[in-house]
Symmetry: none
Subunit: 205 residues, 4 copies
Amino acid sequence: MTAPREATRDRILEAAEHVFADKGYHDALVDEVATATALSKGGVYFHFPSKEDLFFAVVDRLADRLISKVERESSTQPTAIGRAEAALTAVFSALGKRRRLARLLMVQGYSMGNAFERKRVELFGRFASLIRQRLDEASAAGEIPPVDTTIVAHIWLGAINELVIRWLYSGEPAPMEALPILRSVLVEGTRASHAGRVAGEAGNG
Amino acid sequence: MTAPREATRDRILEAAEHVFADKGYHDALVDEVATATALSKGGVYFHFPSKEDLFFAVVDRLADRLISKVERESSTQPTAIGRAEAALTAVFSALGKRRRLARLLMVQGYSMGNAFERKRVELFGRFASLIRQRLDEASAAGEIPPVDTTIVAHIWLGAINELVIRWLYSGEPAPMEALPILRSVLVEGTRASHAGRVAGEAGNG
Amino acid sequence: MTAPREATRDRILEAAEHVFADKGYHDALVDEVATATALSKGGVYFHFPSKEDLFFAVVDRLADRLISKVERESSTQPTAIGRAEAALTAVFSALGKRRRLARLLMVQGYSMGNAFERKRVELFGRFASLIRQRLDEASAAGEIPPVDTTIVAHIWLGAINELVIRWLYSGEPAPMEALPILRSVLVEGTRASHAGRVAGEAGNG
Amino acid sequence: MTAPREATRDRILEAAEHVFADKGYHDALVDEVATATALSKGGVYFHFPSKEDLFFAVVDRLADRLISKVERESSTQPTAIGRAEAALTAVFSALGKRRRLARLLMVQGYSMGNAFERKRVELFGRFASLIRQRLDEASAAGEIPPVDTTIVAHIWLGAINELVIRWLYSGEPAPMEALPILRSVLVEGTRASHAGRVAGEAGNG
DNA sequence: GATGAATGAGCCTTCATTCAT
DNA sequence: GATGAATGAAGGCTCATTCAT
């Protein structure tokens, strides 16, 4: 009944998502987005003030969706560490299923200049927060040691990121293959973590 | 005896390293590199066939140095896992001490198009190999479980990468602060790793 | 009786006068006029067929008012040359009191292309006519020599124009300061004018 | 012997002079200048950083030449007022002989925005100075009353400007026809000038 | 009368790359 | 080895104008 207003804006976003994911920010042409939306270049500029704004809108939309999804999927676990692990799994699987999503969120735009660097910090900060919150709960519940959960969250996120990028570029290993190891290393590592010396140095101490 | 041939080439590489690190690949102009080298644009092109080649030469030189350094520093530990950990430490500290190095190796060029993506795979592959070799030794020595060391190496590398980038952009946390946690989580996680189920799900099983 | 029809048209004209005076023809956007009128772009186009037409309408309205005012103020003098001088004074003072008027009538649009050049001729022609008519009367009354009053009128107008523009851009001299000199030079010059040789050449003759 | 360097720059300037005079600043395309110079667009930009800079360079060159010419031609008269009049004649004739010169110097660019307005002030200031200096000498020599020569110089310039523009647009009157009247009115007017009341008001006093 | 989304033609500017000297 | 003028292929963005509602 209620007519979907802003339909054009969404169509542009949709088209831009494809174009940016395929070509990368620099090689993507506003003209291509326009064509893919069956719109003129001016039409695109009516809805977005610049190519950069358009790119950010695409990325934000994607991030919002991913975060909702992850929050939804990770909230059903009974234990806090279970929810943390579920968040890890959810992020990794979501990215592992959609190359476009992965490319846009993990790879693009690093070298767009300062504007994007700020965006990257924001974006990864949001993702890390997802994980950190669960880790905080786990820490409060005594399920993991009292570590700096922000750092640990970024460790988790970085590991995810690297495995996703590697899969993106080399096709290996398939995310579903890597996931058990990823979970095992990060979860056990977090559980066993401490700020003291480890490994080879133990014998020296 | 042998006069320092290729002096100009090195001067260009040096200048380019600064320019690329400051501006990023796209915003760096060949003209700026030329000016910084007290050379004309044509002079730069005499030594490097293209801007892209120049960029890759810069990155390769940096990577070679980093890898030598890491190999040197990580070979003195008595245990294999100790050497792995030392590699982790060496990579992380080296990047944590030189923003320029970090920016060039970790951040730049992701969105340069396919050419760079291949380079990124190669580059990170080399870094991951450094770690993987040590893990393989550790695995052979029974110091860690028999896991897929390639995946684990990328997990380690991804964690390093993320913490470095975060430090680069937000200034926090200082690498030396983050390092103990990083080591602890990754080393213990690797030691305790297995491909089975973990965490919250344990209770469910 | 008759309700104020055309109220919107006048509001547009009013808004356009401000916008054109502030920004100049090229830098003024139809959108700005619309916004300033609390109208949409389409609304403006309903009342004026094009930006150029709108501009001309603004200028014409202003010119009409100025001419009426000048005619009114210059008709009370007893002598013809007095009326001519009063016209000079009236034009100069009117422009000297309203920067917006001055900017729009004297400065804008010269380089708008051929369309405006025709307008400029028309506009300045009308102003010159104001002066010329008085000069014709003065000439007929024997108050000034029988010169080409069209040329003299343009001389007067050009002098006014330049002093107004200079005041507009540099703020100096204030019109009321310049006026006595302007009047003196032009009126006496016209009275003493002849088509023969003058000045330094007099001694040579 | 000495090869004329900067030949290309001059060719661009020459071509730009024609294009700007024909089309006006806004309607002139950098592409047209390039084509007319048998150069690529980039070639033009190698020599001039922007279209605006190019335009200013054209205008400055023209103004320099005009000023030299006027100074040369007006310096031979024995009396100061004769030299002033000769400057008037020289400016007016020079403009009256070359439409392109006249269009570029007198008409173009008024509505280019603030950048050009400043240029206009500078340009007309230079021309007015030419005249003012002669008037100052005449004033010092007692050949004309002690008036504000800056204002009088702008009156002269304004009159010239208007007659030139009118000729440009309507073709009438031919500069050589208008010149005697122009000289007569301005020179006699300046000689007879005073800051008191004149004309019709004399009878009222 | 009025809206505002959409058009579309166009223009300035950038810059990696080349090549005659 | 090096210069630097010149190329040329884009590409982002603007804005007067239109028209279905």
